[in-house]
């Protein structure tokens, strides 16, 4: 494994009016790592992912993506090659055909004219079809996306990420609204693709079991702070019990 540092966080802090969402977080993530973010609801997992994605401005602290500060990525098109995001299945344009949603991953490369033509005659079709086959959606390219099931839509989102092919993938609760069998399926597929392409994956998860099963490193958060940051095999049941332990008066 190369030792290139993809994400370096230094004392990240984020305040929402009076609430502290992130308080002085520091960690660094190397290329090829599969990181699971766990912790109770409201611990700041989503806020952390959103700030790495540049969607939420930080109150203070420094964030380096592939050695450069986040603010250096002015152009969305360049940033899109660095980082891609997948969430629950709300990321797709429902009324569009599946193939257009997959090819949307190419918009950062395409000029305006090519993107518009593609809406009528899909461009770089083989690329999209291959990605769809890889996620097991053969023959669904011309279905209307909103007619697919939740699990299928999540696969479309993955196919889009394959086409976009960023170096870092951020996944925010990617399996939250799926049943266990489908969730297993999606996570296995996602981690396999990431390993194949030597990408870096940061995922927030509700389920500790999935985190242990598919990820190499677990960062746990509580009240906006890092509670523990360990390789998966060093995470013990005691630590987990303490992480989710309810304080008195907390419900």
């Amino acid at each position: 494994m190369s030792s290139k540092i993809m994400v370096e966080a230094n004392k990240l802090t984020k305040h929402f009016e009076r609430k502290i969402a992130l308080s002085s977080l520091s960690f660094s993530i190397q290329q090829g790592e599969l990181v699971a973010l766990i912790g109770p609801s409201g611990a700041g997992k989503t806020t952390l992912l959103n700030s790495i994605a540049g969607l939420v401005p930080l109150t203070s602290g420094e964030l380096l993506i592939d050695g450069q500060p986040l603010s250096a990525y002015k152009k969305g098109k360049v940033f899109a090659k660095k980082m891609g995001v997948i969430r629950q299945q709300f990321d797709l344009i429902g009324p569009l055909a599946v193939i257009h949603n997959v090819l949307a991953g190419k918009l950062s490369d395409w000029g305006m004219i090519k993107s518009l033509i593609s809406l009528l005659i899909p461009q770089e079709k083989t690329l999209a079809i291959q990605a769809l086959e890889r996620v097991g959606l053969n023959g669904k390219a011309y279905e209307i996306t909103s007619n697919l099931s939740g699990g299928e839509q999540q696969r479309v989102a993955m196919a889009r990420l394959m086409v976009q092919n960023p170096e870092i993938i951020l996944a925010d609760e990617p399996v939250a609204s799926l049943d266990p069998a489908r969730a297993d399926d999606i996570l296995a597929m996602l981690t396999n693709i990431v390993k194949e392409k030597k990408q870096t994956l940061i995922t927030s998860l509700h389920s500790v079991d999935y985190a242990k099963k598919y990820f190499t490193r677990i960062i746990s958060m509580r009240n906006g702070e890092v509670f523990f940051d360990l390789p998966t095999e060093e995470v013990t049941d005691d630590l987990l019990a303490e992480l989710y332990h309810l304080k008195n008066g907390e419900r």
Binding site: G76, K77, R87, F90, D91, I93, L107, S108, Y142
Partner: protein
Amino acid sequence: MKAGNVFRLHNRLILSLILIAVFVWSLFSIKWNADLVHSGGIPTLLQIVEGLFHPDLSADVLYLGFKSAWITLAYAVAGMFLAIIYALIVGTLASGVLTSNKATRILSKVIFRGILGFTRSIHELIWAWLFVAAVGLSPYAAIFALAIPYGGILGRIFADMLNDVSEEPIKALKTAGANKWQTLIYGYIPIIWADMISYTMYRFECAIRSSAIMSFIGLGGLGYQIQLSLQDLKYDRVWAFVFFLIVLVVFVDSWSNLVRKRITERKKRGVMNTGWNSVIFAFFLILASWIYIKLGENAQFIELLSHKNIEAAKRFFSGLIGLQSDQPAFLDADSWSDALKLTLETLEMSMMAIGFATIAAFLTVVPAVRSIANGTLTGSSKWYNWILYGMVRIGYIFSRSVPELVWAMMIIFIFKPGLLPGAIALALHNFGILGKLWAEVIEDMDARPIRNLAMAGASQIEIFFYGILPTVLPRFLTYILYRWEVIMRTTIVVGFVGAGGLGMDFKLAMSFFNYTQITLLLLCYMILVIIADFASESTRKAVK
């Protein structure tokens, strides 16, 4: 891909292409050359624009403005008051919830929905004209003319709401031993109450504009002052009164927004305390309006039913059905073919109008979206976004506050009479409405897929075509068709001031007391309205 699949994928695209083709076809109905404009048209346009920036705000204009604004408001309030009563009674009957078996339900639905349909298919200005012709100039002519079509629209919506009430609570009331009337008062009405108020408030804003144009047949108010000033070529005064109208519309609009917002908030939170101020204010407005009409204008309801008026009305309506004519126009083949030609022209005018309005709204809608101006939709915001937002939104308010008829009266000073000035006037009024409705559709969109596209590196234009347009296109098309229906009804009105089509001929027939011709034109007009309703309803279903 199978053929059916292709249609399913592209049905919205195909419909859009058909609509564009129809629009282009309508453009061919005009000979495009310099002859369209009056010889003094351009200088007049400049004078009108100059008046816009230097409105006459002298004391007597202001006094007249306030007085006419009050008359306009009072007529609108009184008209809406009667419309609500009419809508509540006929709407309830049209919903069939009071009937006890299937046969009477269907009968009651058909009869009363038919009545509502007939009363709303005729424009309020035509009702006003018919009333004035029948009973002479009286505030009641304006009030009834407003109440009848507005009651028709409200009644139909009330009936639809009553029919959409879910079965369970009603069944529960029935098993508890409630009779028909009790289910209505304890079940249906409380369930739809909030929606009824919302919709009525929205209609009230439209009623203000309608009340303003009542003046054109000689019943006081803002429209009357605008008309007088236009005849004197005093454009600075015209704009002063137009500004009064805009302020009045904006006032009613913000009140109605406030009420609607309170209602939705109350639904969410389950609180019951707010809204009393509005109730008291509404009560006060209704009372003041009626007192003014009774005392200030000295309108006598009994006088309406005087022997003289009844005779005049009898003469008028017997004239309409052809009793005074040996050769009624509506039994004459030549008159029919002439009228049908005018009908086709009117149809073309409406298509041109909605086409122009659509183009203008399409070009301006993106900056008019609040969530784009503040960057929550796409995740990026530029300093000039807010300036553009403000400018476009002010343009929209301006465009929709001024009734079509007022736009038409100004435009007729620039263009020669014909279809084009009518189409432009209709488009000027409707582009603001369309733009506002569209902007709200985009504001209500789920922002997550859009932000994800932005994250995937899509540019603003790519985001529009990949993310926004596919999501909002069905609603956009629905609103285009819905506005086209409304425009269809209004074509006849812009014709009154010489903007071509059926309306122009209608006015001539009125002036020459050619009653049977009036009947013929009204028949053609109703055919058009029914066709428009049917076409837009069925296309809307196809897009869904």
